[in-house]
Symmetry: C2
């Protein structure tokens, strides 16, 4: 409900690349990590120049394979993603990692953890890690993550790995943007704790049972199989189940092989294009919603009037349903 309004300037930004943005765009295309970091910050904070940057870099994007990894809290996502990144590095592929953590324990452990991760890959410029700190940030997370993935893509990364906790609608929306979705489960957490958004199970292209040396791995596998027997996929793909112990690197090659196999499957006929078109449809609608609201609020209604309407509705002096109808009906008349 409280998604922030995209800043006015961004939508009607006169298309003029000043030298600062020009340098940033060229730097990103050349794989310059520092300019990439600047571009990501601009997009993440929805700065006025964000749209220019994205417009300029879009043509350079479209080559990376985007892999989404999600699962319950504590499933070992970052460990698995790190191991997968190392595996791809062994194959001479460059990797970008976007770690989206919408939940945060008191201790602020997530941020500390990211620092440690950065250090462990520090010597390798072939791996770029960006943590999306959502503490305090409101909504629009899926859209921002998608734009950041486009930036990493345009910087020449072969793989973009997006990891997120699969607990809310935002997280379903995030992994839905990926070309390939990996859903992680762990044995022995019990139904009550192994809470991931129901919709997540249905969008899995590959299942991973991590910490599979623990008791209960077979039970989790049986549960996935039972679920699969109910599901109906239209693309004739049965999501394989890969068992891993990510902390020891076990099963990572198998996972990479499963990813390759699914990619081959996607490349048959028009499956990959269809999948990308579905994802872009959702992205376009979300961008359009933001831009339309932005235009109506800033050009027609005014922020102050919105506040006043809200107070009148709160005081029960005005019916919100009729108000919204009237605002939409007036569109184009007073513009």
């Amino acid at each position: 409900m409280s998604r922030p309004v995209w800043p006015a300037a961004s939508v009607f930004y006169t298309y003029r690349l000043d030298s600062h943005i020009q340098r940033m765009v060229e730097g990103v295309c050349a794989g310059d990590a520092r300019q990439l970091a600047r571009a990501i910050t601009a997009v993440e904070n929805r700065r006025p120049e964000a749209i220019s940057i994205l417009k300029s870099l879009f043509p350079a994007s479209g080559r990376a394979r985007v892999i989404g990894v999600t699962g319950a809290p504590g499933a070992g996502k970052s460990t698995l993603v790190d191991q997968l990144a190392r595996e791809y590095r062994r194959r001479q592929k460059t990797v970008g990692i976007i770690a989206v953590d919408p939940t945060s324990p008191f201790s602020g452990g997530a941020i500390l953890g990211d620092r440690i991760r950065m250090l462990s890959h520090h010597s390798d410029p072939g791996i770029y890690i960006r943590s999306m700190a959502t503490r305090g940030a409101l909504g629009g997370l899926a859209r921002t993550t998608a734009d950041v993935a486009t930036l990493l893509d345009s910087s020449g990364r072969d793989l973009v790995l997006i990891e997120t906790v699969g607990v809310g609608q935002d997280e379903v929306d995030i992994v839905r943007l990926a070309d390939i979705t990996v859903v992680m489960l762990v044995p022995g957490m019990g139904d009550d704790v192994q809470t991931i958004k129901a919709g997540i199970m249905e969008i899995a292209d590959i299942f991973v049972i991590n910490k599979s040396d623990r008791e209960g791995a077979e039970r989790v596998e049986r549960e996935i199989r039972a679920l699969q027997s109910l599901a109906s996929r239209t693309d004739r793909w049965t999501p394989p189940i890969v068992k891993t112990v990510a902390s020891e690197g076990a099963g990572i090659e198998l996972l990479a092989a499963a990813l390759d196999q699914y990619e081959q499957h996607l490349r048959q006929g028009t499956l990959l294009l269809e999948k990308k078109a579905r994802s872009w449809r959702a992205r376009l609608l979300e961008m359009l919603r933001d831009a339309l609201l932005e235009r109506v609020i800033h050009q027609q209604v005014g922020e102050g009037t919105v506040e006043q309407f809200a107070t009148e509705v709160a005081e029960h002096k005005r019916d919100p349903y009729t108000l919204v109808e009237d605002l939409v009906a007036g569109l184009g008349r007073s513009s």
Copy 2:
């Protein structure tokens, strides 16, 4: 990203209450549980008549106190909410409960659990429970929950209790709509499991430490206190910490007393009105976003064109950022 578009008919629905809707509206106002259930279903499924129903019932709403209860999975939310409902019934207040569960284990235990809850209150028409099954449902959850709360309110319920798992942005948005927000924590779950969205902690008006007979309750209390020393509220209210063992009914009276106290605090000056206005501001913007997108897609662009645009972007034949700018700029010209 993939929020469904509000059906076209709803936005430009000619205001005419047919006898079927008239009966429903009158039934809801009279507290008829069956008509209430029908109205909720219409709103939940965003049927064309939903806006008429909400328009007709809005004037009858605005009297209920809306309380949001959120916390980590397994914190005991439904047990606490049930006990709180019983406490209010002892005080001769009628209660509506909206149970929103965006997560769902394989077992489908949530639905079974709701049936058991319904049965346990079956003999008491003073308690109405509605479970919002989000399995399969996409997005817009906060908006729908708010509309359902308005329906329960207009049916004459004194209290509306909204319970949800506090793990995603949607859930923050849901409890943000409440007049009073209760955040539940439990001892001994550890940082890794006690994952709730960071933003949730900041919007708590009252903290509950449930299962407080377990080891570690003091640690949780210290952590909340530490967090509070960092937070800055503008309303001069320090959220109290109430210890409960909901399964035994322990601490429920204390919680009800804390709720009363906060309500008294809210009623000082214009705090309650300000809080409601903030919540309506967010609701209005969300309603407007949906309605604007709806109008542009159905009246100007067309669903088929959106599909085509998405495919062109997926094929990299079109830059999505320029496309959206063009669509917004063309608004009002071709309408």
